[in-house]
Symmetry: C2
DNA sequence: ACTATATTTCCATAAATATGGAAATATAGC
DNA sequence: GCTATATTTCCATATTTATGGAAATATAGT
């Protein structure tokens, strides 16, 4: 994970519709949701939704899985964790005192 | 912290120059850096830097403190932690199993 | 092949962001 | 007040991003 990759992920989430979509998928769990369901849930027109899904997908924040006529989108937890790890790793230049309110302790390596 | 606030913070970081600036400040610590030093370090013209500093500042990711002729900018760790907390709080809808690689355990409330 | 449904692409347009030189505005020392 | 330095604002321009209707494409059941 470098600065550019982080920007890509941050940018993907830095838009109301996309953050809503992503959180929707996060809550839906690994099974994901079809584009149609997302469209109905968030009241986003198909073309607009498709645009944002592509953005999220291209950034690697979500994954798509075709199943019959439906395409199920699901959150890419790994990317999210990598982003958190990246931001956290560089937090306070390693001085824990700067981050009194949060202690992130990865249980596994996630490079 | 709501969706809009999160978008504001994410957007502030979702730009190469701004992410670089922010990380620069994070590593510099609470004392911060003057605009001139940042400009020289990252090779960003004054006007461009000023634009990005304003963006970061307006979003609440950094703080400014005038000291004689210099203005020292420093990272706002609280905002960063709040953002991480927000993203983490809603991760996997509370099911830890979705986030095997990261366990964020805030030691204090940070609402 | 035909039909129905799901999703994406096309396209034009609108809106927001980014850039950096030049001028303006602080601030402080003399 | 003058000068030097630090930083910001102004401004025009370039670039990117967002929007959604209509048409195109894909998939599956009959």
């Amino acid at each position: 994970m470098n600065s550019q990759q982080a920007v890509t992920l941050l940018f993907a989430l830095a838009q109301e519709a996309r953050l809503d979509i992503f959180r929707c998928l996060v809550q839906a769990g690994p099974a994901g949701l079809s584009a149609g369901v997302i469209s109905q849930t968030l009241h986003i027109p198909n073309s607009t939704l498709s645009f944002h899904l592509k953005e999220l997908s291209h950034a690697g924040m979500i994954s798509a899985k075709q199943e019959s006529r439906f395409i199920y989108y699901s959150a890419n937890y790994q990317s999210m964790n990598a982003l958190l790890t990246y931001l956290t790793d560089n937090c306070c230049a390693g001085q824990a005192a700067c981050c009194p309110d949060m202690q992130c302790q990865p249980t596994k390596e996630n490079e």
